[in-house]
């Protein structure tokens, strides 16, 4: 491109502006609750990524002869029923639960979001078919359905991700479809059709950017629900299987300690709760930001 420059007096049109500074400006104006949420999420991500380096022991390493040991300097949160270090398993739990929940949510959005937009673009029988199929899936109680499917196919991590993603994609589908419905009637979508654009362009360039704020907000909430579902399934024994550390099963395996006045099983439960609250703070702020609503003064 540079070789052509001297031959003609063609001006070089200035390049696009960067968005990094805009993001920083927006962040500076974020309320405390959002900052709290973002810091907590960052901490969780840090722990999830670096668990093997931070944790004092191995994930499934039996480090003590004493099961259900009390808190001490060697084992900060005591040990579990097999004598594994609770603190270590708490850190590894972040990695497993978060990673699986993230993968599941992403998959749910790819399936549900994609089909939802397609249904809104084509309408007619495609929309009817997809919508009724989704209604049918949603009619069955989600947790029980997941339990049935997991006991049929076996509870491996892949099955867990696929089953929960498919079940959750029904909700994403409904949202994506209804939001996209308001976008596909816009003149710019018609203009793109008149131009002769293909489905891919209309889906990714015309519709998707306009429903993105809602979808991102839903992503945060959906992530919480997936996360809770996985924890619930693990608590019931059909989720993430031992010896993989996971917060839901940690609560289940150590639940009896509550009767001995020991709050250790509440800590993984608290970790779940804290993350849910943090994600919701950020989502709230984001929704407020993109809705364009002003505070009345």
């Amino acid at each position: 491109m540079e070789q052509t420059a001297p031959s003609a007096p063609q001006r070089v049109v200035k390049a696009r502006r960067t968005v990094a500074q805009n993001i920083w400006r927006t962040l500076k104006k974020a309320p405390y609750s959002a900052w709290f949420g973002m810091i907590v999420i960052a901490l969780y991500i840090f722990v999830a990524l670096f668990a093997p380096w931070i944790a004092p022991y191995g994930e499934a390493e039996i480090v003590s002869q004493v099961p259900f040991d009390v808190w001490s300097w060697t084992h900060w949160l005591g040990t579990d029923q097999l004598g594994r270090d609770m603190f270590t398993r708490l850190l590894y739990g972040a990695r497993n639960t978060l990673g699986i929940a993230l993968a599941t949510t992403l998959l749910a959005f790819a399936i549900g979001g994609g089909l939802g937009i397609i249904a809104s673009i084509f309408r007619g029988w495609i929309d009817q078919l997809l919508s009724r199929a989704v209604d049918t899936l949603m009619a069955i109680p989600q947790l029980i359905f997941a339990l049935i499917l997991l006991s049929i196919f076996g509870s491996s991590v892949q099955n867990l991700i696929i089953i929960i993603a498919v079940l959750d994609s029904t909700r994403v589908f409904r949202l994506a479809r209804s939001v996209a419905m308001n976008v596909v009637v816009m003149d710019y979508v018609e203009a793109a059709k008149l131009r002769g654009e293909k489905l891919g362009w209309i889906l990714f360039k015309e519709v998707l950017p306009n429903i993105m704020p809602t979808m991102i907000a839903e992503f945060g909430l959906r992530f919480c629900f997936v996360f809770l579902t996985i924890s619930a399934l693990s608590f019931l024994g059909l989720g993430i299987q031992p010896p993989t550390a996971d917060w839901g099963s940690m609560v289940r395996e150590n639940a009896t300690l509550i009767t001995y006045n020991d709050i250790t099983p509440l800590i993984p439960a608290g970790a779940i709760a804290l993350l849910t609250v943090a994600v919701n703070f950020v989502v709230d702020w984001f929704l407020h930001k993109t809705s364009g609503l002003r505070d009345e003064k």
């Binding site: 063609q10 049109v13 816009m186 003149d187 203009a191 059709k193 002769g196 360039k205 950017p209 003064k297």
Partner: protein
Amino acid sequence: MKSERTKGEVLLEIRDLKIEGQSDDVWHEIVKGVGLTLRRGEVLGLIGESGAGKSTIGLAAMGFARPGCRITGGSIVFDGMDLRKASEEERRALRGSRIAYVAQSAAASFNPAHRIIDQTVETAVGHDVRPRNEAEADAKDLYTRLKLPNPATIGNRYPHQVSGGQLQRAMTAMAMSCRPDLIIFDEPTTALDVTTQVDVLAAMRDIVEQFNTAAIYITHDLAVVAQMAHRIMVLRHGKLVEEAPTREMLTQPKEAYTKTLWAVRSLAMPERTAKDVVLRIHDVDATYGGVIKVLENVTVQVPRGRTVAVVGESGSGKSTLARVITGLLPPKKGEVYFNGKPLPRALKDRDKETLRRVQMIYQSADTALNPRQRVRDVIGRPLEFYLGLKGQERDRKVVELLEQIELSEDLIDRFPGELSGGQKQRICIARALAADPELIICDEVTSALDQIVQEGILKLLLKLQKETNVSYLFITHDIATVRAIADEIVVMYQGRVVQQGLKTEVLSPPHPAYTELLLSSVPQMDPDWLTHLLEKRAAAKAKVKA
């Protein structure tokens, strides 16, 4: 009579009003010290382009500021009571009962879930002005005075069951239900067809006179306000430009800006003829869902490098015609010929080259531009898609097009939300132009814009036609626009072509009945126009009866 009404007791006095609005967390002054005096029974017209602060002042007369706005200075004295110092309770007692408001879109202001009469009497009953049964009888009386059809039963309908013009009159009845001292009309006829506008204007003028109600009439159309108001104030950028009694304002405007308010009316282009036909629509029928016939035996020709204006009220099938040409609605019968060859009926059967030749510009640039695409991408996409331009080559062409539509290169990375209404419509024109088309369909492209902006857009379209010899099919309901741009006119009514021909032929009498109605309904810059028109129509009706 008009002079009497300007001498009565002062009802509303606004002094040095200052209002600020918030955008991007910064407060800007949007009304900069405006004062006005309104006497009992007087009608004051507020006029100006969008953003002049008309509506904001109208709402401030009720002591109200929209969310994101705040009143920062001045006084608003209504009948001896300073609304700025009054408590919210006191102001609420006034609103609806002594000061009423009629909004632009009646359809958006009525609750679709309740019957019209329930909503009409709501304020009167709510303010304990009169009991429910009396209020209903009164509402029916008001419907009669406003000349609504079947006044005894129309209230039992739901808002979607009556026409836009009727709904706007029902809203006036609602405002009147407490016999307020002051009514604020905020662009009440802007969304209506010219033919309906006449009836609504006549009804509103009548009822305001009958009850000696004072009114503030907000509009951007000087010809409309001339029929209603005794006195007119011209506003711009939140400041008063000029204030004068209506007749004086029309005959001797003092400020140059006031004259630009009828800018489009001063444009007139001599018609040109051409032999070479670019588009020929032959005997087309079109239906929605195969049942409702929206076009019947429509035949229209567009000469190359010329402009054909399609006029008619809403529902006449103008926009459907555009959908047939673009292939969005395949015709049931008939053919569309482009450069002498029949066009494939459906959009999906047309190739890229065919699509490129016919481009479309929409009425509302707000919905025609993707809010998440920058100007660079909006204009660049057709260049990329049809002509295969990429990178710097594409961007250079985008800048060229921006120059052609008289916009600065600096706008290239803006989002549509960061542009003004006129700029957005120019971007839409550039997008159409980027494809280097032979025909551009313009669907009401100027009707959402201010007069002065309209003038700019129309001039630009004419300039572009001269440069590129492109043809326009110009769909509009505004006769002033037709005068400014068209070579030929097609008049449509209920899906049929009523009349077509060269501009001078269609605009000069004798007219077919519908063309006559349409042309006579266009408000003129004459304060007596409405009175004369109504007299003429009444006389004609009496003649038919005799």
